[in-house]
Amino acid sequence: MAEVALRNVTKRFDDVEAVRSISLDIPNNEFVVLVGPSGCGKSTTLRMVAGLEEVSAGDIYIGGELVNDLPPKDRDIAMVFQNYALYPHMTAFENMSFGLKLRKFSKEKIKKRVDSAARILDIVPLLDRKPKALSGGQRQRLAMGRAIVRDPKVFLFDESLSNLDAKLRVQMRTEIKRVHQMVKTTTVYVTHDQVEAMTLADRVVVMNNGAIEQIATPQELYHNPKTRFVAGFIGSPAMNFLRCRLEGNGTGRHVRLSDTIRLPVPASRAARYAALDSKELLLGLRPEHITEPRRSDRDQAREFAACTSTRKAARCSNPKYRELLRFRIAAKRRVRNP
């Protein structure tokens, strides 16, 4: 139960700058997801909050207290690791009570806490088993149980679901959300999976190359990406990028894609883009926004309908779509994602 704040936090490993001066405010009880491609510095950021890595520069506050020089055990945080990091020689009960025992809780209090955490996670019958005798999902629950018995100020998750198969992952996602609603605690969750980020987060922090690209709610992120990277990263199948030119005339503005294709800019935005008239721009077009032509757009629609290839959507992570269509607008007009 505390807010977390990062102020210009930087982490250098020798000559690699893994995290570049990031600032982030997480209010009490918020569920924040750090998302970004592999190697962008998410884990490093999380580990600095946990105290497992020292910051190279900048400050980290937990509950208003500067924790830069506090060891992990004094930060009152709990972390769930990707490989769970359960103590293999201890039973589930001992795993969960280890932290409490070290903090000199009384036997009755430990029992009470473990029992209530186990009930929340539905692992009461498993308490005297060792991790080896648990399934992947059960280990995941136990790892979460070990975190919540401590009743910490902050939960930290690092790719905690990526060891599970797809079905279990979806199930555990809801589980995590449910637990967060029961045990209201500030949560920082790291993942490279944008679907996980979009479904879990109150707010998403998109990172790239050690820096924050955008901090926003999932809705906001999807509809108003601030940078080209965010636009391309969020959404599956990914957004299309098309070279275009903005053309202004008396009545309104158009985005010209080719000699024959132009799309009108909605009147509500036309004025905002005035400064960009006759500039070369990139148009971001989400695949799901391409629809059957309406009657009024028939002429242009014919151009689009020159479908050049169809591909089974097997590689597309969104099960809503069955096939990917590829359109050619004009030679060399298509822009690859970054």
Partner: protein
């Protein structure tokens, strides 16, 4: 239809697989038997000789591989009533237990800090420790003689407690470093977050998790110090300080008179404790040797 065809096509493959397997089994059994005979002949000869009377051993005419004149426990009886042998045994026991204790404390602590707490030069230090293991005791005893003499432990089995760890600590440390490194890093991070100090991390997480490795290292240290020959040979000379290995040989070989029966009986008794230890810890030992091969 198609499945039938599939089965047909697969049938010869399965047959050749099982033929392959049979040959592999036959070959491995042949070699197993050869090696078993090879390794079991010396202990067999020891047992047979130890159970014979002196008279029979001395008689050249009899077959050395069988006991013709009946089993006798005289060799054991004489050996065990002879005061010297029991003193040797006691000395060896004291030395070995001390050495094992010292070795395990030193090497577990060393391995934990070298393998787990990154600090400047820890990698080089770890390699250096292993390199000292490569120096044979047959070379090391010369400088060690000076040291043992300087601390006044020449001709005292406490000197052995001082020098044996030079043989056991490097290898045990090396085993333990490997073992500790195979424990995922997240485990100590989890313990750190749970509030464990480095010492608690060692005693509550690392030692229990690495128990098979620790047992393997213990067996190694036990075997080495139980069987060490060069150092007691060089540093001990009075019977009341002597250990089993050298003591047995010294007291039972007088000039060119070999008391074969008693030598073998002594060797058998001397070999018993390591055997007992192995028997108890074998499962752990094997688990320790194959550690890291699979993830538990």
């Amino acid at each position: 239809m198609s499945t039938a065809a599939g089965a047909l096509r697969r049938a010869p493959l399965r047959a050749s697989l099982s033929r392959n397997r049979r040959w592999a089994l036959i070959t491995s059994y042949v070699f197993l038997v050869i090696f078993a005979i090879f390794f079991l002949v010396p202990p067999y000869s020891m047992i047979v000789t130890a159970l014979k009377s002196d008279a029979e051993v001395a008689r050249m005419a009899t077959n050395p591989w069988i006991i013709a004149n009946g089993i006798t426990f005289d060799q054991f009886r004489i050996l065990l009533t002879q005061a010297d042998f029991l003193i040797f045994f006691k000395n060896t026991l004291i030395v070995t237990l001390c050495v094992v204790a010292i070795t395990m404390v030193v090497s577990v602590l060393a391995a934990f800090s070298l393998g787990r707490m990154r600090f400047w030069g820890s990698g080089i230090l770890a390699t250096g420790i292993f390199l000292t293991y490569l120096v044979p005791d047959t070379l090391l005893f010369i400088p060690l003689f000076q040291i043992v003499k300087a601390v006044g432990l020449l001709n005292s089995y406490w000197g052995m407690v001082l020098v044996y760890p030079t043989l056991t600590v490097p290898f045990c440390t090396w085993i333990m470093i490997g073992y500790f490194q195979s424990i995922p890093k997240e485990l100590d991070e989890a313990a750190l977050i749970d509030g464990a100090s480095h010492m608690q991390m060692l005693t509550k997480i690392f030692i229990p998790v690495a128990l098979p490795g620790i047992i393997a290292a213990t067996i190694f240290a036990f075997t080495v110090s139980w069987a060490e020959f060069v150092y007691p040979m060089a540093f001990l000379y009075s019977p009341d300080q002597q250990v089993l290995t050298v003591g047995t040989v010294m007291s039972l070989i007088r000039a060119d008179v070999y008391k074969w029966g008693m030598l073998m009986a002594g060797a058998l008794i001397a070999a018993a404790p390591p055997l007992v230890i192995y028997a108890f810890l074998m499962d752990y030992y094997i688990a320790g040797l194959t550690a890291g091969a699979t993830k538990g």
